[in-house]
Symmetry: C2
Subunit: 339 residues, 2 copies
């Protein structure tokens, strides 16, 4: 049975926001499997801010996607064919690093079969039990080292990572304050996710709101955004604050050099520990993170949302939702049905 | 015997560089001692970049000096009178936090008697065995965590802290590369202090020189300066580099907001750990640092220079040497004779 793949390829490097024509959806025959390989059909494609970094030739944590190559991405897939012992057609897996494509051929050793847990939607494996959940867990726990009674602030708080950070902070006995870009998101953060306070940076004076909601200063700043909001947070850090540096979304679409924080000196004055990290730094400890997050999910202590866009053809346009503040929770593209 | 003190008081906050008239040298009678107090006569006044921070009302790690108050500073003094058990006239002590003054009255419990070591000049207690030595030791060892074979870069390398950092790095089996502001300093760094290479940032292309002298990238950036030099270093950091943030001298005299590093995102992309610190964070571990530095001094593995300016009246003008790159090694003002 000859299958036809649909693959988004990078045609040129975006300047600023991703525009129509930067990527091209092409059709290609799916190659035959070699021993040890599996054929995956993508069910959900995960869209993440880091995808935008990969499209640029800026200095980054892994090589950029080359012009003409398939766009890099990951998600959840179903096994269509297998020449790898231990994976059968119908198995649902995490693709690891894959492509923005309907089909993908990979060594079976590089994909992980997902457990089937009654009542738990597949999307949980892109959220609390996926890369974004692990990012939140290890960034906060290992770098942020939250102590009971401390105040944790997180930017992009209604995103896939930020929403987990605040909820884990609450579980650790901290005060959790989120910064997000709409009243709807802020309401979700306080009413559903249990944050102590949420700040709508598009409507509020962030500094004044932080002063109000963080009366004892800020002990942990889980940084996702950078720019002005980070600057505003820096002057409110307590001595010996910790700052997991997870992302700098505000600069990913920039076309000109972006100055670092004007209040950079606060890192010195307040004895701050800042650590840049990529979730794969913690890959050896994922079982610990999965165990903790799974337990909290089962106990109802972690809520999560998924923002699903239908159809692989809509992936490039959907990515923009991350930079315009449109998504609540994990952004994903539904590519095909899980069965 | 009524003594007359001479004290530099802060008259107004400097704008940019410290100017004549920002401080005023006043004469006052020395007050009588209470029980538990000692009268100190300053021998050496230590001048450090942080003095300039204390003159400003910017957000900082301790309260600024108030207008009209004596300028804050520390150094080495001799006990003139004592009403404290354990300190006698003639004892040489470290003043701890003191003043830019000839005399100082302090609780005897807040000053430390210095050991007399044959062949070791008093100035060693402001250098390798003083605050600057402890700054270098703990910043490099505790935050930088240098491993044999790694490359350590230090800015303001011919200063009191930087010159120690490179020498400790060499003792740890690292490659040490210093950045300084004159050929004379660079020559001292390589020929006397044993650095592997030194870069004169006033004459050389720092980026190209770093590429040449750090062929395996940079594992530890001991940051004293900030600004463009820091930006140039950031893009050359290796994955999982460490960055003790000790000072940002380039911004201390600034009159306008100073942008943070344009390459701030490298902290994320390269998984960097940055930690701002003040030497007093390590006060409980000073004995360890003194032991190590003392041992290395005795073994001839640590060289140090002192740049001594004569006369308390010259203190404000001398401070400027730190910001114009005039001093080699520890800058101090000789205020009176140690006897």
């Amino acid at each position: 049975m000859a299958r036809t793949n649909r693959i988004w390829k990078l045609r040129k490097r975006p300047v600023g926001d991703v525009s129509e024509g930067d990527l091209e959806l092409v059709e290609e025959p799916v190659p035959a499997l070699n021993d040890g390989e599996v054929l995956l059909r993508t069910v959900y494609l995960s869209l993440d801010p880091t995808n935008r970094i990969w499209m640029s030739d800026r200095d980054q944590y892994m090589p950029p996607v080359e012009i003409g190559d398939p766009m890099r991405g990951g998600g959840i897939a179903i096994i269509e064919e297998s020449r790898f012992d231990g994976l059968e057609p119908g198995d649902i897996v995490n693709t690891g690093l894959g492509q923005w494509a309907l089909y993908l051929v990979k060594p079976g050793s590089e994909v992980n079969k997902l457990p089937q847990i009654p009542g738990l939607p597949l999307t949980a494996f892109m959220g609390p039990l996926g890369m974004t959940g692990m990012t939140a867990y290890f960034g906060l726990m290992d770098i942020g080292k939250p102590q009971p009674g401390e105040t944790v602030v997180v930017s992009a708080a209604a995103g896939a990572v930020g929403s987990m950070v605040g909820q884990i902070a609450k579980i650790q006995g901290c005060r959790a304050v989120g910064i997000a870009g709409s009243d709807e998101k802020c309401k979700w953060l306080t009413d559903v996710a249990g944050f102590d306070a949420a700040i709508n940076y598009k409507k509020e004076d962030v500094g004044a709101a932080l002063d109000k909601h963080c009366p004892d200063g800020i002990d942990v700043n889980f940084e996702n955004v950078g720019g002005e909001i980070m600057d505003t947070i820096l002057t409110r850090l307590n001595d010996f604050a910790r700052m997991p540096l997870c992302g700098l979304i505000s600069s990913y679409n920039a076309t000109d050099p972006v100055p670092g924080p004007y209040n950079f000196s606060m890192l010195l004055m307040r004895h701050v520990t800042l650590k840049g990290f990529i979730v794969t730094d913690y890959i050896d400890r994922f079982p610990e993170g999965m165990q903790a997050m799974g337990q909290w999910l089962m106990e109802g202590k972690i809520k999560f949302e998924t923002d699903v866009v239908e159809g692989l053809e809509n992936a490039p346009a959907a990515l923009d939702r991350l930079f315009t503040g449109k998504n609540l929770g994990k952004l994903a593209v539904k590519v095909s049905e899980p069965g």
